[in-house]
Protein backbone atom coordinates (compact mmCIF):
# COMPACT_ATOMS: atom_id res chain seq x y z
CA UNK A 1 0.00 0.00 0.00
CA UNK A 2 3.03 2.26 0.25
CA UNK A 3 3.02 3.04 -3.46
CA UNK A 4 -0.46 3.93 -4.57
CA UNK A 5 -1.01 3.64 -8.32
CA UNK A 6 -3.90 6.05 -8.27
CA UNK A 7 -4.93 8.45 -5.58
CA UNK A 8 -7.86 10.82 -5.56
CA UNK A 9 -7.49 13.56 -3.02
CA UNK A 10 -10.43 15.56 -1.74
CA UNK A 11 -12.15 15.37 -5.13
CA UNK A 12 -15.30 17.43 -5.62
CA UNK A 13 -17.44 18.00 -8.67
CA UNK A 14 -20.35 20.38 -8.80
CA UNK A 15 -22.90 20.51 -11.61
CA UNK A 16 -24.76 23.76 -11.02
CA UNK A 17 -26.52 23.31 -7.69
CA UNK A 18 -25.82 19.58 -7.55
CA UNK A 19 -22.81 18.34 -5.63
CA UNK A 20 -22.11 15.17 -7.61
CA UNK A 21 -18.96 14.42 -5.65
CA UNK A 22 -18.06 15.99 -2.33
CA UNK A 23 -14.50 15.70 -1.05
CA UNK A 24 -13.87 12.08 -1.96
CA UNK A 25 -10.45 10.63 -1.15
CA UNK A 26 -8.99 7.15 -1.47
CA UNK A 27 -6.11 5.42 -3.12
CA UNK A 28 -5.82 2.31 -5.25
CA UNK A 29 -2.77 0.10 -4.82
CA UNK A 30 -1.01 -1.56 -7.69
CA UNK A 31 -2.47 -4.96 -8.50
CA UNK A 32 -5.68 -4.80 -6.52
CA UNK A 33 -9.27 -4.97 -7.67
CA UNK A 34 -11.00 -1.98 -6.21
CA UNK A 35 -14.79 -1.85 -6.19
CA UNK A 36 -16.95 1.23 -6.24
CA UNK A 37 -20.56 0.87 -5.18
CA UNK A 38 -23.37 3.15 -4.25
CA UNK A 39 -27.02 3.79 -5.11
CA UNK A 40 -27.95 5.36 -8.45
CA UNK A 41 -26.77 8.95 -8.61
CA UNK A 42 -24.17 8.44 -5.91
CA UNK A 43 -21.45 9.83 -8.20
CA UNK A 44 -19.67 6.64 -9.27
CA UNK A 45 -19.58 7.38 -12.99
CA UNK A 46 -18.76 11.03 -12.26
CA UNK A 47 -15.76 9.80 -10.31
CA UNK A 48 -14.66 7.69 -13.30
CA UNK A 49 -15.08 10.71 -15.56
CA UNK A 50 -12.88 12.79 -13.27
CA UNK A 51 -10.23 10.07 -13.10
CA UNK A 52 -10.19 9.51 -16.88
CA UNK A 53 -10.22 13.25 -17.57
CA UNK A 54 -13.58 13.67 -19.28
CA UNK A 55 -14.88 16.05 -16.63
CA UNK A 56 -12.78 18.65 -14.80
CA UNK A 57 -13.15 18.54 -11.01
CA UNK A 58 -14.40 21.59 -9.14
CA UNK A 59 -11.64 21.00 -6.62
CA UNK A 60 -9.25 18.32 -5.48
CA UNK A 61 -6.69 16.36 -7.41
CA UNK A 62 -6.09 13.07 -9.19
CA UNK A 63 -2.64 11.62 -8.58
CA UNK A 64 -1.04 8.95 -10.75
CA UNK A 65 2.07 7.22 -9.44
CA UNK A 66 2.73 10.20 -7.20
CA UNK A 67 2.28 12.95 -9.80
CA UNK A 68 -0.81 15.11 -10.25
CA UNK A 69 -2.61 14.45 -13.55
CA UNK A 70 -5.64 16.60 -12.77
CA UNK A 71 -4.97 18.95 -15.69
CA UNK A 72 -4.14 16.32 -18.31
CA UNK A 73 -6.57 15.63 -21.17
CA UNK A 74 -8.00 12.07 -21.53
CA UNK A 75 -5.56 10.90 -24.20
CA UNK A 76 -2.53 11.85 -22.12
CA UNK A 77 -3.93 9.97 -19.14
CA UNK A 78 -4.57 6.97 -21.35
CA UNK A 79 -0.98 7.01 -22.52
CA UNK A 80 0.16 7.02 -18.89
CA UNK A 81 -1.67 3.72 -18.50
CA UNK A 82 -5.23 4.55 -17.56
CA UNK A 83 -7.98 2.98 -19.67
CA UNK A 84 -11.71 2.74 -19.20
CA UNK A 85 -14.91 1.27 -20.52
CA UNK A 86 -18.23 3.06 -20.60
CA UNK A 87 -21.45 2.20 -18.85
CA UNK A 88 -23.49 2.87 -21.98
CA UNK A 89 -20.95 1.38 -24.42
CA UNK A 90 -19.13 3.78 -26.69
CA UNK A 91 -17.65 1.63 -29.43
CA UNK A 92 -16.66 2.94 -32.84
CA UNK A 93 -19.83 1.50 -34.34
CA UNK A 94 -19.00 2.11 -38.00
CA UNK A 95 -15.61 0.45 -37.77
CA UNK A 96 -14.97 -3.26 -37.87
CA UNK A 97 -14.25 -5.11 -34.64
CA UNK A 98 -10.62 -5.42 -35.67
CA UNK A 99 -10.34 -1.71 -36.51
CA UNK A 100 -11.77 -0.84 -33.09
CA UNK A 101 -8.77 -2.62 -31.63
CA UNK A 102 -6.28 -1.18 -34.13
CA UNK A 103 -7.37 2.32 -33.10
CA UNK A 104 -6.57 1.47 -29.49
CA UNK A 105 -3.25 -0.09 -30.45
CA UNK A 106 -2.02 3.06 -32.17
CA UNK A 107 0.25 4.01 -29.30
CA UNK A 108 2.55 1.11 -30.10
CA UNK A 109 3.36 2.73 -33.38
CA UNK A 110 6.92 3.79 -33.91
CA UNK A 111 6.24 4.74 -37.52
CA UNK A 112 5.15 8.22 -38.58
CA UNK A 113 2.38 9.26 -40.95
CA UNK A 114 5.03 9.75 -43.64
CA UNK A 115 5.99 6.10 -43.18
CA UNK A 116 2.33 5.23 -43.49
CA UNK A 117 1.82 7.22 -46.67
CA UNK A 118 4.88 5.73 -48.36
CA UNK A 119 4.14 2.30 -46.89
CA UNK A 120 7.73 1.91 -45.72
CA UNK A 121 9.15 -1.22 -44.08
CA UNK A 122 8.81 0.49 -40.72
CA UNK A 123 5.10 1.12 -41.33
CA UNK A 124 4.50 -2.43 -42.54
CA UNK A 125 6.24 -3.85 -39.49
CA UNK A 126 4.32 -1.61 -37.07
CA UNK A 127 1.09 -2.56 -38.83
CA UNK A 128 1.96 -6.25 -38.60
CA UNK A 129 2.70 -5.95 -34.87
CA UNK A 130 -0.55 -4.07 -34.29
CA UNK A 131 -2.51 -6.72 -36.15
CA UNK A 132 -0.87 -9.53 -34.22
CA UNK A 133 -1.63 -7.81 -30.92
CA UNK A 134 -5.21 -7.18 -32.04
CA UNK A 135 -5.77 -10.82 -33.00
CA UNK A 136 -4.32 -11.92 -29.70
CA UNK A 137 -6.78 -9.74 -27.80
CA UNK A 138 -9.66 -10.95 -29.96
CA UNK A 139 -8.63 -14.52 -29.23
CA UNK A 140 -8.36 -13.80 -25.52
CA UNK A 141 -11.85 -12.33 -25.31
CA UNK A 142 -13.40 -14.84 -27.68
CA UNK A 143 -14.13 -12.37 -30.45
CA UNK A 144 -11.93 -13.69 -33.27
CA UNK A 145 -14.86 -15.01 -35.25
CA UNK A 146 -16.34 -11.51 -35.33
CA UNK A 147 -13.21 -9.61 -36.43
CA UNK A 148 -14.69 -8.45 -39.74
CA UNK A 149 -18.10 -7.50 -38.38
CA UNK A 150 -19.08 -3.89 -37.93
CA UNK A 151 -18.95 -3.17 -34.21
CA UNK A 152 -22.44 -1.64 -34.29
CA UNK A 153 -23.96 -4.94 -35.43
CA UNK A 154 -22.67 -7.07 -32.55
CA UNK A 155 -24.80 -8.64 -29.85
CA UNK A 156 -24.82 -6.90 -26.50
CA UNK A 157 -22.51 -9.29 -24.65
CA UNK A 158 -19.99 -9.19 -27.50
CA UNK A 159 -20.06 -5.41 -27.47
CA UNK A 160 -19.26 -5.42 -23.78
CA UNK A 161 -16.30 -7.72 -24.33
CA UNK A 162 -15.11 -5.68 -27.31
CA UNK A 163 -15.09 -2.59 -25.11
CA UNK A 164 -12.87 -4.40 -22.64
CA UNK A 165 -10.62 -5.64 -25.43
CA UNK A 166 -10.33 -2.13 -26.83
CA UNK A 167 -9.40 -0.72 -23.42
CA UNK A 168 -6.83 -3.49 -22.99
CA UNK A 169 -5.42 -2.62 -26.40
CA UNK A 170 -4.07 0.62 -24.98
CA UNK A 171 -1.94 -1.51 -22.63
CA UNK A 172 -3.18 0.01 -19.38
CA UNK A 173 -1.85 -0.38 -15.86
CA UNK A 174 -5.24 0.57 -14.46
CA UNK A 175 -8.49 -0.51 -16.05
CA UNK A 176 -11.68 1.30 -15.09
CA UNK A 177 -14.74 -0.85 -15.70
CA UNK A 178 -18.06 0.98 -15.53
CA UNK A 179 -20.78 -1.60 -14.82
CA UNK A 180 -19.33 -4.35 -17.00
CA UNK A 181 -21.98 -6.83 -15.82
CA UNK A 182 -24.98 -4.63 -16.61
CA UNK A 183 -27.47 -6.49 -18.76
CA UNK A 184 -25.74 -9.85 -18.44
CA UNK A 185 -27.55 -12.96 -17.15
CA UNK A 186 -26.28 -14.72 -13.99
CA UNK A 187 -24.18 -17.26 -15.92
CA UNK A 188 -22.58 -14.51 -17.99
CA UNK A 189 -21.87 -12.56 -14.80
CA UNK A 190 -19.98 -15.53 -13.40
CA UNK A 191 -18.04 -15.78 -16.64
CA UNK A 192 -17.21 -12.09 -16.49
CA UNK A 193 -15.98 -12.44 -12.93
CA UNK A 194 -13.57 -15.19 -13.96
CA UNK A 195 -12.54 -13.20 -17.03
CA UNK A 196 -11.64 -10.10 -15.01
CA UNK A 197 -9.48 -12.14 -12.66
CA UNK A 198 -7.82 -13.88 -15.56
CA UNK A 199 -7.15 -10.61 -17.36
CA UNK A 200 -5.71 -9.09 -14.21
CA UNK A 201 -3.24 -11.95 -13.98
CA UNK A 202 -2.25 -11.98 -17.61
CA UNK A 203 -2.00 -8.22 -18.17
CA UNK A 204 -0.82 -7.41 -14.65
CA UNK A 205 -3.69 -5.04 -14.22
CA UNK A 206 -5.05 -2.98 -11.44
CA UNK A 207 -8.82 -2.88 -11.81
CA UNK A 208 -11.33 -0.36 -10.59
CA UNK A 209 -14.88 -1.52 -11.07
CA UNK A 210 -18.32 0.00 -10.68
CA UNK A 211 -20.98 -2.62 -10.24
CA UNK A 212 -24.51 -2.78 -8.92
CA UNK A 213 -24.45 -6.50 -8.36
CA UNK A 214 -23.08 -6.41 -4.83
CA UNK A 215 -22.49 -10.16 -4.17
CA UNK A 216 -20.40 -10.35 -7.34
CA UNK A 217 -18.37 -7.35 -6.30
CA UNK A 218 -17.89 -8.63 -2.75
CA UNK A 219 -16.32 -11.78 -4.13
CA UNK A 220 -14.23 -10.05 -6.78
CA UNK A 221 -12.78 -7.08 -4.93
CA UNK A 222 -9.85 -6.76 -2.59
CA UNK A 223 -11.14 -3.46 -1.30
CA UNK A 224 -14.07 -1.22 -2.04
CA UNK A 225 -15.40 2.25 -1.49
CA UNK A 226 -19.04 3.12 -1.01
CA UNK A 227 -20.44 6.41 -2.27
CA UNK A 228 -23.73 7.93 -1.28
CA UNK A 229 -24.87 11.33 -2.56
CA UNK A 230 -21.31 12.14 -3.60
CA UNK A 231 -19.78 11.35 -0.23
CA UNK A 232 -17.54 8.38 0.51
CA UNK A 233 -19.29 6.67 3.39
CA UNK A 234 -17.13 3.55 3.67
CA UNK A 235 -13.79 2.19 2.56
CA UNK A 236 -12.13 -1.13 3.17
CA UNK A 237 -12.26 -4.86 2.51
CA UNK A 238 -15.63 -6.33 1.49
CA UNK A 239 -16.05 -7.86 4.92
CA UNK A 240 -15.59 -4.53 6.67
CA UNK A 241 -17.81 -2.68 4.24
CA UNK A 242 -20.52 -5.32 4.48
CA UNK A 243 -20.88 -4.70 8.23
CA UNK A 244 -20.63 -0.94 8.14
CA UNK A 245 -23.92 0.37 9.56
CA UNK A 246 -23.87 3.43 7.28
CA UNK A 247 -23.56 1.23 4.23
CA UNK A 248 -26.37 -1.01 5.38
CA UNK A 249 -28.56 2.00 6.00
CA UNK A 250 -27.74 3.82 2.79
CA UNK A 251 -27.49 1.05 0.29
CA UNK A 252 -28.18 -2.47 1.37
CA UNK A 253 -31.49 -1.58 2.95
CA UNK A 254 -30.74 -3.61 6.08
CA UNK A 255 -30.29 -6.84 4.14
CA UNK A 256 -26.90 -8.00 5.40
CA UNK A 257 -26.65 -10.73 2.77
CA UNK A 258 -25.89 -7.94 0.37
CA UNK A 259 -28.58 -8.73 -2.20
CA UNK A 260 -30.08 -5.60 -3.72
CA UNK A 261 -33.85 -5.48 -3.70
Amino acid sequence: MSTALLEVRDLSCRFGGLMALDGVSFSVASGEIFGLIGPNGAGKTTLFNLVSGLTPPSSGSVIWRGAAITDLPPHRRNRLGLARTFQNLRLFDDLSVLDNLLVALERHSRSSSIDGLLCTARHRQAERQRREAAWQLLEELGLSALADRQAGTLAYGDRRRLEMARALGTDPALLLLDEPAAGLNPAEKEGLCALIQELRQRHRLTVMIIEHHVPLLMRLCDRMAVLDFGVRIALGSPNVVRRDPRVIAAYLGGDASGETP
Partner: protein
Protein backbone atom coordinates in the same frame (compact mmCIF):
# COMPACT_ATOMS: atom_id res chain seq x y z
CA UNK B 1 -20.13 18.46 -75.42
CA UNK B 2 -17.50 17.82 -72.75
CA UNK B 3 -14.29 19.53 -73.85
CA UNK B 4 -10.95 19.65 -72.10
CA UNK B 5 -11.83 22.93 -70.40
CA UNK B 6 -14.89 21.41 -68.76
CA UNK B 7 -12.88 18.33 -67.81
CA UNK B 8 -10.37 20.55 -65.96
CA UNK B 9 -13.24 22.18 -64.08
CA UNK B 10 -14.65 18.76 -63.23
CA UNK B 11 -11.30 17.61 -61.87
CA UNK B 12 -10.98 20.81 -59.83
CA UNK B 13 -14.48 20.08 -58.51
CA UNK B 14 -13.39 16.58 -57.50
CA UNK B 15 -10.35 18.04 -55.69
CA UNK B 16 -12.53 20.51 -53.80
CA UNK B 17 -14.87 17.65 -52.95
CA UNK B 18 -11.93 15.81 -51.37
CA UNK B 19 -11.01 18.97 -49.52
CA UNK B 20 -14.45 18.93 -47.86
CA UNK B 21 -14.27 15.15 -47.39
CA UNK B 22 -11.01 15.08 -45.40
CA UNK B 23 -12.21 16.94 -42.27
CA UNK B 24 -15.55 15.16 -42.58
CA UNK B 25 -13.74 11.83 -42.41
CA UNK B 26 -12.73 12.96 -38.92
CA UNK B 27 -16.30 14.04 -38.19
CA UNK B 28 -15.65 17.76 -38.66
CA UNK B 29 -18.06 19.68 -40.87
CA UNK B 30 -15.81 22.42 -42.27
CA UNK B 31 -17.08 24.74 -44.98
CA UNK B 32 -13.76 26.59 -45.15
CA UNK B 33 -12.64 25.01 -48.43
CA UNK B 34 -13.41 28.12 -50.55
CA UNK B 35 -11.33 30.29 -48.21
CA UNK B 36 -8.26 28.12 -48.75
CA UNK B 37 -9.02 27.83 -52.46
CA UNK B 38 -9.17 31.64 -52.66
CA UNK B 39 -5.93 32.03 -50.70
CA UNK B 40 -4.07 29.63 -53.02
CA UNK B 41 -5.52 31.24 -56.14
CA UNK B 42 -4.77 34.77 -55.01
CA UNK B 43 -1.21 33.87 -54.13
CA UNK B 44 -0.65 32.29 -57.55
CA UNK B 45 -2.29 35.25 -59.32
CA UNK B 46 -0.14 37.74 -57.42
CA UNK B 47 3.13 35.87 -57.80
CA UNK B 48 2.78 35.20 -61.51
CA UNK B 49 1.69 38.75 -62.41
CA UNK B 50 3.90 40.73 -60.01
CA UNK B 51 7.00 38.66 -59.47
CA UNK B 52 9.06 38.64 -62.67
CA UNK B 53 11.56 36.15 -61.23
CA UNK B 54 9.03 33.42 -61.97
CA UNK B 55 9.56 34.11 -65.65
CA UNK B 56 6.23 35.30 -67.04
CA UNK B 57 6.81 36.46 -70.63
CA UNK B 58 5.37 39.55 -72.24
CA UNK B 59 3.34 37.30 -74.53
CA UNK B 60 1.56 35.81 -71.49
CA UNK B 61 3.59 32.62 -71.28
CA UNK B 62 4.76 31.04 -68.03
CA UNK B 63 7.27 28.30 -67.18
CA UNK B 64 5.67 25.06 -65.98
CA UNK B 65 8.26 24.80 -63.19
CA UNK B 66 7.10 28.16 -61.83
CA UNK B 67 3.54 26.83 -61.87
CA UNK B 68 4.63 23.83 -59.83
CA UNK B 69 6.36 26.16 -57.36
CA UNK B 70 3.12 28.13 -57.06
CA UNK B 71 1.10 24.97 -56.46
CA UNK B 72 3.42 24.11 -53.58
CA UNK B 73 3.38 27.66 -52.19
CA UNK B 74 -0.41 27.94 -52.56
CA UNK B 75 -0.85 24.68 -50.66
CA UNK B 76 1.69 25.71 -48.03
CA UNK B 77 0.12 29.11 -47.42
CA UNK B 78 -3.38 27.63 -47.16
CA UNK B 79 -2.05 24.90 -44.87
CA UNK B 80 -0.36 27.44 -42.61
CA UNK B 81 -3.54 29.48 -42.41
CA UNK B 82 -5.45 26.30 -41.52
CA UNK B 83 -2.93 25.48 -38.82
CA UNK B 84 -3.41 28.89 -37.21
CA UNK B 85 -7.19 29.09 -37.62
CA UNK B 86 -7.75 25.40 -36.88
CA UNK B 87 -6.37 25.65 -33.37
CA UNK B 88 -9.17 28.09 -32.60
CA UNK B 89 -12.16 26.87 -34.61
CA UNK B 90 -11.70 23.12 -34.08
CA UNK B 91 -12.68 23.60 -30.45
CA UNK B 92 -16.17 24.04 -31.84
CA UNK B 93 -18.33 21.11 -32.75
CA UNK B 94 -20.93 20.34 -35.39
CA UNK B 95 -22.95 23.26 -36.60
CA UNK B 96 -20.86 25.77 -34.61
CA UNK B 97 -17.74 24.68 -36.46
CA UNK B 98 -19.61 25.01 -39.76
CA UNK B 99 -20.63 28.57 -38.87
CA UNK B 100 -17.11 29.52 -37.80
CA UNK B 101 -15.70 28.20 -41.08
CA UNK B 102 -18.32 30.15 -43.05
CA UNK B 103 -17.08 33.22 -41.18
CA UNK B 104 -13.53 32.41 -42.30
CA UNK B 105 -14.73 32.23 -45.91
CA UNK B 106 -16.33 35.66 -45.55
CA UNK B 107 -13.26 37.18 -43.89
CA UNK B 108 -10.99 35.93 -46.65
CA UNK B 109 -13.41 37.10 -49.34
CA UNK B 110 -13.73 40.60 -47.88
CA UNK B 111 -9.98 40.80 -47.33
CA UNK B 112 -9.24 39.90 -50.95
CA UNK B 113 -11.87 42.40 -52.06
CA UNK B 114 -10.32 45.24 -50.06
CA UNK B 115 -6.59 44.62 -49.88
CA UNK B 116 -4.67 47.28 -51.87
CA UNK B 117 -2.82 44.74 -54.02
CA UNK B 118 -5.51 42.20 -54.94
CA UNK B 119 -7.31 44.29 -57.51
CA UNK B 120 -10.57 44.97 -55.67
CA UNK B 121 -13.80 43.84 -57.30
CA UNK B 122 -12.18 43.42 -60.71
CA UNK B 123 -9.47 41.21 -59.31
CA UNK B 124 -6.28 40.16 -61.03
CA UNK B 125 -6.42 39.45 -64.74
CA UNK B 126 -4.10 38.41 -67.56
CA UNK B 127 -2.62 35.70 -65.42
CA UNK B 128 0.14 34.14 -67.56
CA UNK B 129 -0.43 30.74 -69.12
CA UNK B 130 2.01 27.85 -68.62
CA UNK B 131 0.16 25.78 -71.19
CA UNK B 132 -0.98 26.68 -74.70
CA UNK B 133 -4.26 24.81 -74.39
CA UNK B 134 -6.42 23.09 -71.75
CA UNK B 135 -4.78 19.68 -72.10
CA UNK B 136 -1.79 20.78 -70.00
CA UNK B 137 -4.15 21.86 -67.22
CA UNK B 138 -6.02 18.62 -67.62
CA UNK B 139 -2.86 16.60 -67.03
CA UNK B 140 -1.82 18.74 -64.03
CA UNK B 141 -5.27 18.53 -62.43
CA UNK B 142 -5.37 14.78 -63.05
CA UNK B 143 -1.99 14.33 -61.35
CA UNK B 144 -3.17 16.39 -58.37
CA UNK B 145 -6.36 14.34 -58.12
CA UNK B 146 -4.53 11.02 -58.34
CA UNK B 147 -2.08 12.19 -55.69
CA UNK B 148 -4.85 13.33 -53.34
CA UNK B 149 -6.88 10.18 -53.97
CA UNK B 150 -3.82 8.09 -53.23
CA UNK B 151 -3.32 9.87 -49.90
CA UNK B 152 -6.97 9.29 -49.01
CA UNK B 153 -6.64 5.63 -49.97
CA UNK B 154 -3.52 5.20 -47.85
CA UNK B 155 -5.22 6.85 -44.87
CA UNK B 156 -7.59 3.88 -44.60
CA UNK B 157 -4.72 1.58 -43.64
CA UNK B 158 -2.87 4.07 -41.45
CA UNK B 159 -3.19 4.96 -37.77
CA UNK B 160 -4.05 8.55 -38.76
CA UNK B 161 -6.96 7.48 -40.97
CA UNK B 162 -8.28 5.04 -38.38
CA UNK B 163 -8.00 7.71 -35.69
CA UNK B 164 -10.02 10.05 -37.94
CA UNK B 165 -12.72 7.40 -38.38
CA UNK B 166 -12.74 6.76 -34.63
CA UNK B 167 -13.22 10.47 -33.91
CA UNK B 168 -16.04 10.61 -36.44
CA UNK B 169 -17.76 7.76 -34.58
CA UNK B 170 -17.13 8.89 -31.00
CA UNK B 171 -14.69 11.67 -30.26
CA UNK B 172 -14.92 11.24 -26.51
CA UNK B 173 -14.19 7.52 -26.61
CA UNK B 174 -11.35 8.13 -29.07
CA UNK B 175 -9.73 10.49 -26.57
CA UNK B 176 -10.03 7.85 -23.85
CA UNK B 177 -8.26 5.38 -26.16
CA UNK B 178 -5.19 7.57 -26.26
CA UNK B 179 -5.90 9.47 -29.47
CA UNK B 180 -4.85 13.10 -29.44
CA UNK B 181 -8.14 14.23 -30.96
CA UNK B 182 -7.13 17.89 -31.31
CA UNK B 183 -4.06 16.96 -33.29
CA UNK B 184 -5.82 14.48 -35.56
CA UNK B 185 -8.62 16.95 -36.33
CA UNK B 186 -6.08 19.67 -37.00
CA UNK B 187 -4.13 17.40 -39.34
CA UNK B 188 -7.28 16.62 -41.33
CA UNK B 189 -8.13 20.33 -41.48
CA UNK B 190 -4.64 21.24 -42.71
CA UNK B 191 -4.69 18.47 -45.33
CA UNK B 192 -8.03 19.80 -46.52
CA UNK B 193 -6.58 23.31 -46.79
CA UNK B 194 -3.50 22.15 -48.70
CA UNK B 195 -5.67 20.38 -51.27
CA UNK B 196 -7.88 23.47 -51.67
CA UNK B 197 -4.95 25.91 -51.79
CA UNK B 198 -3.13 23.89 -54.44
CA UNK B 199 -6.32 23.59 -56.49
CA UNK B 200 -6.83 27.35 -56.22
CA UNK B 201 -3.32 28.05 -57.50
CA UNK B 202 -3.95 25.87 -60.54
CA UNK B 203 -7.42 27.33 -61.07
CA UNK B 204 -6.07 30.90 -61.10
CA UNK B 205 -3.91 30.13 -64.12
CA UNK B 206 -6.56 28.04 -65.78
CA UNK B 207 -9.21 30.76 -65.43
CA UNK B 208 -6.73 33.46 -66.48
CA UNK B 209 -8.39 35.87 -64.03
CA UNK B 210 -8.92 35.74 -60.28
CA UNK B 211 -11.12 37.73 -57.92
CA UNK B 212 -12.74 37.56 -54.52
CA UNK B 213 -15.87 35.87 -55.90
CA UNK B 214 -13.93 32.66 -56.53
CA UNK B 215 -14.03 31.86 -52.84
CA UNK B 216 -17.54 32.80 -51.79
CA UNK B 217 -20.08 31.10 -49.56
CA UNK B 218 -21.75 29.73 -52.72
CA UNK B 219 -18.69 27.58 -53.23
CA UNK B 220 -19.04 26.26 -49.66
CA UNK B 221 -22.50 25.00 -50.50
CA UNK B 222 -21.51 23.71 -53.94
CA UNK B 223 -18.57 21.72 -52.59
CA UNK B 224 -20.69 20.41 -49.72
CA UNK B 225 -23.18 19.21 -52.33
CA UNK B 226 -20.36 17.27 -54.04
CA UNK B 227 -19.81 15.29 -50.85
CA UNK B 228 -23.48 14.83 -50.01
CA UNK B 229 -24.33 13.57 -53.48
CA UNK B 230 -21.22 11.43 -53.86
CA UNK B 231 -21.07 10.11 -50.32
CA UNK B 232 -18.82 10.93 -47.40
CA UNK B 233 -17.82 7.41 -46.34
CA UNK B 234 -15.35 6.63 -49.12
CA UNK B 235 -13.02 9.05 -50.85
CA UNK B 236 -14.34 8.08 -54.27
CA UNK B 237 -17.70 9.56 -53.24
CA UNK B 238 -16.71 13.24 -53.28
CA UNK B 239 -14.71 12.63 -56.46
CA UNK B 240 -17.77 11.27 -58.26
CA UNK B 241 -19.93 14.01 -56.74
CA UNK B 242 -17.48 16.72 -57.79
CA UNK B 243 -17.16 15.43 -61.33
CA UNK B 244 -20.92 15.03 -61.84
CA UNK B 245 -22.09 18.23 -60.22
CA UNK B 246 -19.48 20.34 -62.00
CA UNK B 247 -20.46 18.90 -65.36
CA UNK B 248 -24.19 19.16 -64.81
CA UNK B 249 -24.61 22.95 -64.73
CA UNK B 250 -22.36 23.36 -67.75
CA UNK B 251 -24.40 20.85 -69.68
CA UNK B 252 -27.55 22.57 -68.43
CA UNK B 253 -26.21 26.04 -69.15
CA UNK B 254 -29.31 26.95 -71.22
CA UNK B 255 -31.44 26.89 -68.04
CA UNK B 256 -29.28 29.63 -66.46
CA UNK B 257 -29.58 30.36 -62.78
CA UNK B 258 -31.88 27.41 -62.23
CA UNK B 259 -28.70 25.39 -61.70
CA UNK B 260 -28.40 26.89 -58.24
CA UNK B 261 -31.84 25.50 -57.52
CA UNK B 262 -30.51 22.14 -58.70
CA UNK B 263 -27.77 22.21 -56.10
CA UNK B 264 -30.32 23.02 -53.44
CA UNK B 265 -32.42 20.10 -54.62
CA UNK B 266 -29.45 17.76 -54.43
CA UNK B 267 -28.73 18.82 -50.86
CA UNK B 268 -32.35 18.23 -49.91
CA UNK B 269 -33.04 15.08 -51.94
CA UNK B 270 -29.61 13.47 -51.73
CA UNK B 271 -29.88 12.30 -48.12
CA UNK B 272 -33.46 11.18 -48.71
CA UNK B 273 -32.83 9.07 -51.83
CA UNK B 274 -29.28 7.88 -51.10
CA UNK B 275 -28.49 8.44 -47.42
CA UNK B 276 -24.91 7.23 -47.81
CA UNK B 277 -24.33 8.96 -51.17
CA UNK B 278 -23.81 7.51 -54.65
CA UNK B 279 -20.58 5.81 -53.59
CA UNK B 280 -20.98 3.95 -50.30
CA UNK B 281 -18.51 1.51 -48.73
CA UNK B 282 -21.03 -1.29 -49.36
CA UNK B 283 -21.14 -0.45 -53.05
CA UNK B 284 -17.35 -0.43 -53.28
CA UNK B 285 -17.18 -3.80 -51.59
CA UNK B 286 -19.48 -5.25 -54.19
CA UNK B 287 -17.52 -3.59 -56.98
CA UNK B 288 -14.34 -5.36 -56.02
CA UNK B 289 -13.04 -3.97 -52.77
CA UNK B 290 -11.29 -0.93 -54.08
CA UNK B 291 -11.50 2.48 -52.42
CA UNK B 292 -12.50 1.04 -49.07
CA UNK B 293 -10.40 -0.77 -46.47
CA UNK B 294 -9.50 -4.28 -47.55
CA UNK B 295 -10.94 -7.18 -45.68
CA UNK B 296 -8.86 -8.72 -42.98
CA UNK B 297 -7.37 -12.18 -43.30
CA UNK B 298 -6.55 -13.94 -40.09
CA UNK B 299 -2.80 -14.61 -40.01
Amino acid sequence: MIDNGLLVQMLLGALLGLSVYLPLAAGQLSLATPAFYAVGGTLAALLSTRWSVLGATAAGGFPVLSLLLELVLGGALAGTLALLVGRLVLRLRGIYLAIATIALVEIVRVAILNLPFTGGAIGIFSIPQPFTDASGYLLTALILLVLTGWICQRLDTMPLGRAMAAIRDDELAAGCMGIDTTRVKLTAFVLSAVVAGTSGALAAHFLNTWNARQGSFDVSITTLAFVILGGSRAWLGPVVGGLLLTALPELLRPVGDVRLVLFGLVIVLGPVLAPRGLVSPELLERLGRWGSPTREQKP
